[in-house]
């Protein structure tokens, strides 16, 4: 019952807002190039369905590849940090620099270096940089915050570093890592969109490019359709990662238990 309400209430709000929007546009006769009515957006969506889906597939591919790359790199780096304090102290500042430098500022450089003939690789690299840090930060914290007594216990039984990592540190890091992944999923999408914006005309074929193009042609209804699709994609990524988090932690972690 609660879950049904969780679902229906936001839906009712959406229906109400869309209705009000439609009525307001009709009542004040707002021009379509300023604010199209929801019905016009729906029509634009249906008319451009094929090309929008292609654009979505392109953006989604970049996002997912970047997300996976960020996960692999983030977990690997954090694991290396957990094994060597020296390594962590040496390299962590650079990870921070990468994080605080606005990606829009480095994107042109990456595009030039990688080359426009390999545009997809460039987009993935840019999005990976954006998504990398929360995973590194989450995994690092999780690997380091394992119970010292538990670590001592493994020493009593002559455990190797690898055993301690595998049996204690990694499982302990899971909640932190998953929380970082939830943030990173959204950031990978943002990174993909930013990268497409920077890459500009003729090269990128994703949703962001459709938005720029529709704006230039004053096809505001199509712009809104692409925007809605982008928002929906973001929500789906978040939902999928939230589900993964709940599923992996449901037996033992407080966060997942209070939610079920």
């Amino acid at each position: 019952m609660r879950r049904l309400a969780d679902f229906l209430l936001p839906l009712a709000v959406a229906a109400f807002l869309l209705g009000a929007w439609e009525a307001a546009v009709a009542h004040w006769q707002v021009p379509a190039y300023v604010l199209p009515a929801p019905s016009a957006i729906a029509r634009a969506f249906a008319d451009n369905f094929g090309s929008l889906m292609e654009a979505l597939a392109s953006t989604l591919a970049v996002t997912l590849e970047a997300f996976v790359a960020a996960c692999v790199l983030g977990i690997a780096t954090a694991t290396a940090f957990s094994q060597s304090r020296l390594l962590e102290r040496t390299l962590y500042p650079y990870a921070v620099i990468l994080q605080v430098t606005p990606v829009v500022a480095i994107a042109p450089l990456i595009l030039i270096w990688v080359g426009f003939e390999r545009i997809n690789l460039a987009l993935v690299i840019i999005a990976t940089i954006v998504a990398f840090f929360p995973i590194l930060a989450g995994a690092t914290l999780g690997l380091k915050s394992a119970d010292f007594n538990l670590i001592d216990l493994t020493r009593l039984y002559g455990a190797s570093r690898l055993q301690t990592l595998w049996r204690i540190r990694l499982p302990n890091a899971l909640p932190y890592l998953l929380s970082g992944m939830k943030t990173a999923g959204g950031l990978a999408l943002i990174g993909a969109v930013v990268a497409e914006f920077v890459a500009g005309s003729g090269t990128a074929t994703g949703l962001a490019w459709r938005i720029v193009e529709s704006g230039n042609r004053l096809e505001i209804a199509t712009l809104f359709a692409a925007l809605a699709l982008l928002a929906l994609t973001g929500v789906m990524i978040f939902a999928a990662l939230s589900f993964l988090e709940w599923w992996l932690l449901r037996r033992w972690h407080e966060s997942a238990i209070s939610a079920s």
């Binding site: 007594n149 001592d152 049996r167 499982p171 033992w252």
Partner: protein, 240 residues
């Protein structure tokens, strides 16, 4: 079994936890280490287990390094694993084959009265049950020397008494050697054969009290008499 002699330990922050601490625990003995809070009992136990290295003095084991079972003050279980997997941890770390490890873990859980809870996660268990899993884990690797750091301190009196009796039973059945850290005079007077009394920090042993036999209940006159004697020694130790 194990002998500590002339141990000194100072922490990096300048706290001198132990100074000239010496004691021995013989094979098959049940010895309590009793002292006021902060006197260095946990530090002494960690030194005995080899988890800390002393600044001075030696820790020696008469016949090779024994397998040690360690029970912490809190349960220290892995929250992501069920009781069975927790109890099996020492065997997994020693790369005992899965089936054999499973059998040992099940047996260890049964011995601490947790048969049927193999698949329960720590959060599904009560405080006393978690402590039992922790003891089962220490027993699973069949230790010769069992070190316990105030294992029942966080429990209510009824559970504490039951677990104390269970511990005595395990000690008798297995011929274990037990070093039991506690700050409870009544616990030490009933459970152990010998009580080592520590001074306040920096800790060292001021009294080594062998207890008379015949303490078969917590309220028997011999136990009460032992309590009186230990209390006296503890008061002297704190005043000194």
């Amino acid at each position: 079994m194990i002998a500590l002699s002339g141990i000194a330990k100072r922490f990096p922050n300048g706290v001198q936890a132990l100074n000239d601490l010496s004691f021995t625990v013989g094979r098959g003995e049940f010895v309590s280490l009793l002292g006021p809070s902060g006197c260095g009992k946990s530090t002494a136990l960690r030194l005995a287990a080899g988890l800390l290295t002393p600044d001075a003095g030696t820790v020696t084991c008469a016949d090779g390094k024994p397998q040690i079972g360690f029970v912490f003050q809190d349960h220290t279980l892995m929250p992501w694993a069920d009781a069975m997997t927790n109890a099996r941890l020492p065997l997994d770390l020693k790369r005992v084959p899965r089936e054999q490890a499973d059998a040992c873990a099940v047996a260890a859980l049964a011995r601490v009265g947790l048969a049927g809870f193999e698949r329960a996660y720590p959060r599904e268990l009560s405080g006393g049950m978690k402590m039992r899993v922790s003891i089962a884990r220490a027993l699973a690797a069949q230790p010769q020397l069992l070190l316990l750091d105030e294992p029942f301190a966080a429990l209510d009196e009824i559970t504490r008494n039951t677990l104390g009796d269970d511990l005595l039973k395990l000690w008798r059945e297995d011929g274990l050697t037990v070093l039991f850290v506690t700050h409870s005079v009544s616990e030490s007077s009933y459970l152990s054969q010998r009580v080592l009394v520590m001074t306040s920090r920096p800790g060292r042993i001021t009294a080594d009290i062998a207890l008379a036999s015949g303490r078969d209940s917590r309220l028997s006159p011999v136990t009460i008499e032992a309590q009186r004697f230990i209390s006296g020694a503890l008061n002297t130790a704190i005043a000194a």
